[in-house]
């Protein structure tokens, strides 16, 4: 088993797609670095933290992007965002079988502030354009940095999300919540609490991700292949169903995950944090 979390973005990408099939667009040798980081004394990255291109997955053409969580927390800056938008717009033209996004990001790259915010918004609209064209957008989340902020919203704009139990999917990071409302609101150093609230197991139990896998690149690859047909058209009906689903959540009182899981009818909710992925999948079946 190769840990997906411990791989770099490029290593994950290489192992998820068919061996040797990745063809990169705007590679590092073009040195398309951020125009905004040097003024803050922060080093740039030759690919601005995201590798994009075309590849084969089970022999089928897919477009793929992999965000490097170790660079600026995977945050989306001007160039990074434009690479994603370019990839998505090209997908409209060439109609690959799917667009695969190996997401690991804190959201907007704060060091690029306004430029990052607009960039994430452009990515969001581009993802919805691809979806509206009937091309599935599949998001893989399994890095230790998780998928937060505007990228946490982008993920939920996609057709299909695969998460490992190490992955997290949310909007605001626990540190920001703690800084705003205190440690009683959210103790960011309580890892168990953080993962109960935003981690893959929780998201799978509530249906916020579609598939839960082990921290294993092969498991992610297998799930990505299965997702190639996962087109979910956005319609009035689907949005009304989603609205009912989300509205029902408001009936739950409080902020504790184990109580929420119990309310969903999951037996033995208190044991879930200690279960492995197979154990959680058995509960949800």
């Amino acid at each position: 088993m190769i840990s997906y979390a411990e791989c770099s973005a490029r290593e994950r990408l290489a192992l998820v797609v068919d061996t040797g099939s990745f063809h990169e667009w705007l590679p590092p040798a073009l040195k398309l670095t951020s125009p905004h980081l040097a003024q803050l004394g922060v080093p740039s990255s030759f690919d601005d933290g995201v590798a994009i291109g075309r590849a084969l997955l089970a022999g089928q053409t897919v477009f793929v992007a992999a965000q490097e969580g170790q660079f600026m927390g995977g945050g989306v800056g001007e160039v990074h965002g434009a690479k994603l938008v370019g990839l998505l717009r090209r997908a409209l033209r060439e109609r690959p079988r799917a667009v695969l996004l190996l997401a690991e990001s804190g959201g907007v790259r704060l060091h690029e502030a306004n430029a990052g915010l607009i960039a994430v918004s452009e990515v969001m609209r581009a993802v919805l354009d691809v979806r509206a064209a009937g091309i599935p957008v599949v998001v893989l989340i399994g890095g230790s940095g998780g998928c937060f902020g505007g990228m946490g919203i982008v993920a939920r704009c996609a057709d299909h999300i695969v998460m490992s139990d190490i992955g997290r999917l949310a909007m605001s990071g626990p540190e920001v919540i703690e800084a705003s409302h205190g440690v009683e609101e959210f103790d960011s150093r309580d890892r168990a609490l953080v993962w109960r609230t935003t981690g893959g197991k929780h998201r799978w139990l509530t249906g916020d991700c579609d598939v839960l896998v082990e921290d294993d690149v092969v498991a992610f690859r297998t799930a990505a292949i299965s997702a190639l047909g996962a087109v979910r058209p956005v319609t009035m009906e689907s949005l009304e169903a989603e609205h009912a689903r989300l509205s029902a959540r408001l009936a739950f009182d409080g902020a504790e995950a184990t109580a929420l899981w119990s309310s969903l009818g999951v037996a033995g909710a208190e044991r879930i944090p200690d279960l492995d992925v197979a154990g959680v999948l058995a509960l949800g079946a």
């Binding site: 667009w25 705007l26 398309l32 125009p35 003024q39 803050l40 001007e78 160039v79 434009a82 690479k83 938008v85 370019g86 717009r89 090209r90 704060l110 502030a113 306004n114 430029a115 990052g116 915010l117 607009i118 918004s121 452009e122 969001m124 609209r125 581009a126 919805l128 509206a132 902020g149 505007g150 919203i153 982008v154 993920a155 939920r156 704009c157 999917l169 949310a170 909007m171 605001s172 920001v176 919540i177 800084a179 705003s180 409302h181 609101e185 959210f186 929780h202 956005v234 319609t235 009035m236 949005l239 009304e240 989603e242 609205h243 989300l246 408001l250 409080g254 902020a255 504790e256 929420l260």
Partner: protein
């Protein structure tokens, strides 16, 4: 400008927009045509509940008034920073709101966003920024994050961030920066009703913000990088 003054200037004193908590909603008439108005006020934090409230209003307009234009009035301090909202999937509720607005646009509803006071990223990224265009009043401010939290997360000194926020377009919160970067299409100055009229007339489905940022000089790389990806061998 407070929302009542804004509404009165746009639609007259009998506009019919009602405030319920931080939520604004109304069906108004503008230039003889009906228009749905949805919004927030009092620097509202947007949590699951308020995101869903806005989504419901968009869904209702799609169901009951096909083709009717929507005006989103934005005043928000950003996403609600509570553990409960994260647990309940605030990112999913935000995405749902965004997808409702996006579908409305695809079904022929023009959607215009107007930041009339302040907006922080999460509070309007799936409303104003997903509309056909996001406009703003000249005194409005748009921020990604408050400086103290930004300093904590970036480990950059707050004093440095404050200095950059004075002069650096990437950091400064004034909406003129957002216009230069293409994020905001236009500022509403003088005759607000005329500005709304132009906003509705100019609404169009393509996301042209990267091109606008390049043309206006505030965001010079994005459009060219997008084009290079399209052209890459």
């Amino acid at each position: 400008m407070d929302w009542q003054t804004l509404a009165t200037q746009l639609f007259g004193a009998a506009h019919g927009i009602v405030r319920d908590g931080d939520f604004l909603q109304g069906e108004v008439e503008f230039d003889g045509e009906p228009l749905t108005v949805i919004g927030t006020t009092d620097h509202a934090p947007i949590g699951v509940q308020l995101a869903l409230r806005q989504a419901r209003a968009v869904l209702d307009t799609m169901a009951r008034h096909p083709g009717r234009a929507l005006l989103l009035l934005i005043d928000t301090q950003g996403q609600q920073l509570r553990r409960r909202d994260e647990l309940l999937g605030i990112n999913r509720a935000m995405a749902h709101l965004g997808m409702c607005i996006d579908l409305a646009r695809r079904r022929g509803h023009r959607v215009i966003g107007l930041v009339y006071d302040q907006a922080l990223s999460g509070g309007f990224i799936t409303s104003g920024l997903i509309a056909d265009a996001c406009d703003a009043l000249p005194e409005a401010e748009i921020r990604v994050m408050r400086l103290p939290a930004m300093a904590r997360v970036t480990k950059l000194p707050e004093s440095l961030l404050a200095e950059l926020s004075e002069s650096n377009p990437v950091f400064a919160p004034g909406v003129r920066n957002y216009v230069a970067m293409g994020g905001v299409r236009r500022l509403w100055q003088g005759d607000l009703a005329q500005a709304l009229r132009e906003a509705l007339a100019d609404a169009q489905p393509q996301d042209q913000r990267a091109e606008a940022g390049a043309a206006r000089g505030g965001r010079r790389l994005a459009a060219s990088v997008i084009q290079r990806v399209l052209d890459a061998a």
